[in-house]
């Protein structure tokens, strides 16, 4: 068995990594819907989900069960092939794009096969990501067209026009980062931002603040989120491109949307905010205890919060989970070696979570663009600004290189 494992490790290890990543991402997707509903509810002075489990924590499970058991009617006169293909294309591309994202600096050996945190370490990973995003529009466009519904068709058309327009700005806005790093590899882009002793000051956000703002706006438009959610504007188009979809096919569009949000947040983290790097200089060793400082009080709070409930969840599950979190926090203090490994993922996920929160925050705050505003903003403002950013960045880099 051992020999077999070593021989085929190059197939087995990636498959295990893919399985873990897909499981993690789908769980995060599910709980992102819960966070979104909670945060928006609190913005609007409501409670949000609070019936299914403590704080409505089991709501995503209930939703999942509902999606699976709902009737899945097939509208008349749909283009069957495209109708069934559309949600699969959307979900597949959304999940595929996560494959090239590096989540941490470590390299380790499994069955004698050297691997790293992340699925594929491609040296053109940024281009691969853009290639996958470029194909993403087909899912929505086809869904809108195949549904044989005027609202859906309008949603699909809007979406294609919007994605073509904002893809240009999205691609151009990261050219500055590529110029600074001199590389398309996301891993090298992060490594290039690690300047000894400078911490947060070495990140790309400072020279590339304009690039970042363009990137984030364009990325929100690419993921069809508020304020750019015109493809599914419910006050105008019922539900836009997914009006005729129900049950699991409907859920697939939403899983894809939340997965794209995660991808974009990861990308923003990697390109502009130093990926897994800590914002503090290496000499500040005490900042390594930050995960523990956050985890231990949170775990204790979860224990006491759970004890308020009279049912099984409150009496056993929540206190156990809280104790587990506090134990992890304490363990990180006791074992400095483990703590060092945990630093990269901790900062990475903290940054990604911040971006996800900003997404939700914006959905609770901003009204939707009008269609002509969307187009003129994209073409007349965002695109020229990103082009100017490319020109200025390359001019500055060329000047510095000439001096040296």
């Amino acid at each position: 068995v051992n020999e077999f494992l070593t021989q085929y490790a190059f197939i087995i290890v990636p498959i295990i990594k893919i399985a873990i990543l897909v499981f993690l991402v789908l769980t995060v997707d599910a709980y992102l819907t819960w966070i979104e509903r909670k945060v928006i509810a609190h913005i609007q002075a409501r409670w949000g989900p609070h019936r299914v489990g403590p704080h409505g924590l089991l709501q995503p499970l209930a939703d999942g069960v509902k999606f699976i058991f709902k009737e899945d009617p097939l509208p008349t006169n749909v283009d069957k092939a495209a109708y069934f293909l559309a949600p699969f294309i959307t979900l597949m591309l959304a999940l595929t794009s996560l494959a090239v994202i590096p989540f941490g600096p470590q390299r380790f050996k499994v069955f004698g096969y050297e691997t790293h945190v992340g699925i594929a370490d491609v040296n053109i990973s940024l281009l691969v990501l853009f290639a996958i995003t470029a194909l993403g529009v087909y899912g929505i466009a086809l869904a809108g067209w195949a549904s044989n519904n005027k609202y859906s068709l309008l949603g699909g058309l809007r979406s294609s026009a919007q994605m073509i327009s904002y893809e240009l700005a999205l691609t151009l806005s990261v050219v500055g980062v590529v110029l600074l790093a001199g590389d398309f590899s996301l891993r090298n882009i992060v490594t290039q931002q690690s300047v000894p002793g400078r911490g947060v000051l070495g990140w790309n956000i400072f020279p590339q603040i304009i690039g970042f703002l363009c990137f984030y706006v364009a990325a929100i438009a690419e993921t069809n989120r508020v304020p750019f959610d015109l493809p599914e504007a419910e006050s105008e188009l019922v539900a836009g491109f997914h009006t005729e979809y129900a049950s699991m096919k409907f859920a697939m569009f939403f899983i894809a949307e939340y997965t794209s949000m995660i991808t974009v947040s990861c990308l923003a983290t990697i390109l502009f905010f130093g990926g897994w790097l800590s914002p503090f200089p290496e000499s500040w060793g005490f900042t390594h205890y930050l995960p523990s400082v956050l985890l231990i009080p949170f775990g204790i709070w979860v224990i006491f919060d759970g004890l308020r409930y009279e049912n099984l969840l409150g009496r056993i599950v929540l206190p156990a989970a809280g104790a587990g979190l506090a134990a992890i926090g304490a363990g990180l203090v006791v074992f400095p070696a483990v703590n060092d490994i945990a630093q990269g993922p901790f900062w990475f996920f903290a940054k990604v979570f911040t971006f996800l929160f900003v997404y939700i925050w914006m959905r609770g705050t901003l009204p939707r663009f009008r269609y002509d505003q969307l187009m003129s903003f994209g073409w007349k403002f965002l695109l020229p600004v990103s082009i100017a950013n490319v020109v200025i960045t390359s001019a500055v880099i060329a000047r510095i290189w000439r001096i040296h």
């Binding site: 040296n123 691969v128 853009f130 290639a131 470029a134 466009a141 086809l142 067209w145």
Partner: protein, 166 residues
């Protein structure tokens, strides 16, 4: 059969099937989708030859931008299924033999010169994007700039044509 060879045949088969389906499909959207399959399969073939940058650009430009425009226009015009008319006599009696002859000539030419042709890039080596950009912007900078000028002229022409009404 080695790994790369298997991947080659899968991708090549996909490209050929996509191309056949492109012609046989009755609805323009289905034809456009088949063309996307061809483009993506070609990108895979480029990757197999070690041209990673060209592969990514193939998907971004052809698979993404150009084909999205095709699909967009077909959806906007709401083009229906194409109607089949009876084949013209000329196509039946002259077209099929000519097509067969053409295939034969190409196959014969490939078979004859196969000994003299070198293999494509040895599998596993990648032409780095940096090498490619140095070639484009140093050695071939004038042809490259001329090409972009040509594209600029085409864009201006398109704008002039679109604005003629006003």
């Amino acid at each position: 059969m080695t790994g790369p060879l298997i991947i080659f045949f899968v991708l090549a088969g996909l490209a050929v099937l996509g191309a056949i389906s492109l012609i046989l499909q009755k609805h323009p959207i289905h034809s456009a989708l088949s063309l996307i399959v061809v483009m993506v399969a070609l990108a895979g073939l480029y990757l197999l030859m070690g041209a990673e940058f060209v592969a990514a650009v193939q998907i971004i430009v052809y698979g993404g931008a150009i084909m999205v425009l095709f699909v967009f226009v077909i959806m906007l015009l709401n083009a229906g299924e194409e109607e089949r008319t009876n084949f013209s006599k000329l196509a039946t009696y002259a077209g099929i033999p000519l097509a067969l002859a053409m295939t034969g000539f190409i196959a014969a030419a490939i078979a004859q010169s196969s000994g003299r042709l070198g293999t494509a890039a040895p599998s596993g080596t990648l032409t780095s994007t940096k090498t490619l950009s140095l070639l484009l912007f140093k050695e071939f900078v004038y042809p490259f700039e001329l090409t972009s000028f040509l594209i600029l002229v085409a864009i201006l022409g398109a704008i002039v044509l679109a604005q003629r009404e006003n």
